[in-house]
Amino acid sequence: MSTASASGFAGPQQYLEQQARWRTVEIVFWLCTLLPFVVAPNYLQLASQIAITALFALSLDLILGYAGIVSLGHAAFFGFGAYTAGLLSKHGWGEPLTGLLLSGLAAGLLGYAVSFIIARFRHLALIMITLGFGLLLLELANSASGLTGGADGLQGVKMWPLLGLFKFDLWGVTAYWYSLIALFVLFLVSRRLINSPFGLSLRGIRENAVRMRAIGAESRPHIRTIYTISAAIAGVAGAILTQTTETVSLGVLSFERSADVLVMLILGGAGRLYGGLIGAIIFMIARDWFSGVNPQYWYLPIGVLLIAVVLFLPNGILGGVSQLVNTERGQRWFGWLTLPPAWLPSWRRGA
């Protein structure tokens, strides 16, 4: 049995192949996402919203964790996708899947347009430009209240049953299946993207953009590509929110939403693909729990949670976990989780 040691690669091809292997812990994670259907059927609406937020966090991870673009205005694409889906439904086209694709496309186009500006800047200027852009879109949506419904939100969003069979009901069963499958599919896409030469070049850009140019890899087209993809995924997440809740209002474009998803991503650990998912799950469950216990002062335990994670778990929760696993004892107890499972055919396991 080959060991998963990180040293001694024969080349980048082997490195990528090894990264792309499915580990046991990943399979366990995705199986666990099916648990709410069985264990917590009354919480499916919450689970659905967690899945949507996890998808949004994943899209942010693609640009932040892998390309090093810190964005404080990513909700612009989330909201753009959300409103597109809402407007499609309001004006007569309530089919969920095509609405989803169109919204993702629309958000992607917007991302493409913006990426020309984004790719030219770095550091604080970039952060503030993304922030300004997000706030600008929010103000535009507020002013265009004839189109968007303004502060009252868009009225008249009614979705047709999914695949003609499954209605979006009060219990949230359809909603959770819908958001979970979308999350899984787009996760697979992102995983493929990251574990490819393109993904490697992104990491190179994140580490040192100047050096990348020196070795002949143009960074700007890569940044534009990943930004567009990230925008499209964020738009899909927003569209799912509109479709499963049949409401959309200015909150989807707000600074709070951008800041929340950033916090969740950092909490989980950026640059690890699962960081956004873990961060979203933990933050949203914690918030729901704390605000149930004390609706008025739940900011306090959440703030303490964030501070504690930073002080004791640098690089987010996943960072702390991987540090634990890399110790002697950690390897003994949890090492098997980091290897691909034995029942996977050997050509998938990689020798």
Partner: protein, 288 residues
Amino acid sequence: MLTSLAGVLFDGFAYGMLLFLLSVGLSVTLGMMNFVNLAHCTFAMIGGYVTVTLINQAGWPFLATLPVSFVAAAAISVVFERTMFNRLYRASDLDQCLLTIGLVFVSVAVAALIYSTVQQPVQLPSYLRGSFQVGGVTLGAYRLFLIVFALVVTAALVIALEYTRFGAQVRAAVDNQRMARGLGINVDGAFAITFALGSGLAGLGGSLAIDIVGLDPSFALAFLVYVLIVVSVGGLGSIGGTFAAAVLLGISDMAGKYYFPEIGSFMIYLVMISLLMWRPAGIFGRRV
């Protein structure tokens, strides 16, 4: 026509002065140590609540509360800096963001617990209320006071920075931290003092802002965006840059609302984006 322009300039300048006081501390600390302190406005909020408590509970006159709010905000910031922030100077930007945001959340909840969510009113002394007519332009008394006060503070800061040894150390650390350390300058100590001063100024700004923008627990979050805009447009570590950016943003915000009320709310963001695209390091910034 000219009188209304003069009026807009005056009010915009006053608003800019308020933004300056609230932002200058963040600009210098960010430039000096690259420490992203999103909890900066928490100190402003603390200063505001100190003033409100002293006026409403202890009957102090408004002006007398200002030095106390400065000292209180500075003192509390020192406590945070020594216990939590100094562990993260070498940490990533994102970790610093998360810690300071966590702190903001905690401070908002604590403020709501102690003071409840109600708006805190403040009664100004009579000589600060009302207005003067100067050549057909109405000048508010409080805004005049704000402008004079901020200019005095700016002058004090510039003098301290240019003509004192400590100021020279701060300037060296902002320019090139590693070199400064190499020359034996105690950068950490200088930073601690600068941080306290910056937070104290924020507290002062918070007290002065109550009359114009009100005070409630969400103040710590609400103003953050404007402060970040001023700091990024002005350039990190530059007092002159922060001053110019604050004035520019204050006036364009006011002019936008007066002359183009339909798009008035966009103005500040459009101005920021355009300025940053033209000068990514800020107006007077040196590093990106």
